[in-house]
Amino acid sequence: MHPSHFTVILLFALFASTVFGITMRDTPRRMFRYGAYCFVLFVGSVIVLSWVMFLIAR
């Protein structure tokens, strides 16, 4: 199995955010919101850091 790097990031963010959301909050609504927040932060930080590394490498 050889997924693309971005696919790996999406899978990692999805699973980690699910566990974070369930374990760090009390109510289902807050769990979902915190999980979505973590997912956006995971993926967003990867995209930003990727662009930073791209610009540094030029």
């Binding site: 050889h2 997924p3 699910t18 369930i22």
Partner: protein
């Protein structure tokens, strides 16, 4: 002077029985600690997330840490052990023994370690629910 106890009734009820059972069950089998507490949906989501992460790690030809040659290997072993029975069964049937040769395989190794760490978080969450430290 009022003599009403500070803890709610649910907290008193949660002190009955072996209080570490959800912690141990949750470590051995992902999601089992929440299943024991009747949190079926949470347990299922945790189980799917952690097991999928572990299996995907193996499918990406990630490595299972088996011995500690240095401090980083020791941390890898500690992370892998968090997966409980998944780790022991995988080792017993010879999975995760190939050396890492590609970038994706290195990602797979990290998936396996993080799955173990997430499982520890989930097991501690089940323990907190059991003791009443977490309300719901």
């Amino acid at each position: 002077m009022p003599t009403t106890p500070n803890k709610p009734a649910a907290g008193k009820q949660s002190q009955q029985g072996f209080v570490y059972l959800p912690l141990i069950a949750g470590w051995l089998v992902p999601g089992a600690g929440h299943f024991l507490l009747g949190k079926w949906i949470r347990g299922a989501l945790l189980a799917v997330s952690i097991i999928a992460m572990f299996v995907l790690g193996l499918a990406m030809q990630g490595k299972l840490y088996t011995s500690a040659q240095d401090i980083l290997d020791l941390l890898g072993v500690a992370g892998d052990l968090g997966s409980g029975l998944l780790y022991f069964v995988s080792r017993a049937i010879g999975l995760g023994g190939t050396p890492v040769q590609t970038t994706v395989a290195d990602y797979g190794t990290k998936f396996i370690v993080v799955a173990g760490l997430l499982n520890i978080i989930a097991a501690v969450d089940a323990h907190n629910l059991r003791t009443g430290r977490k309300s719901s």
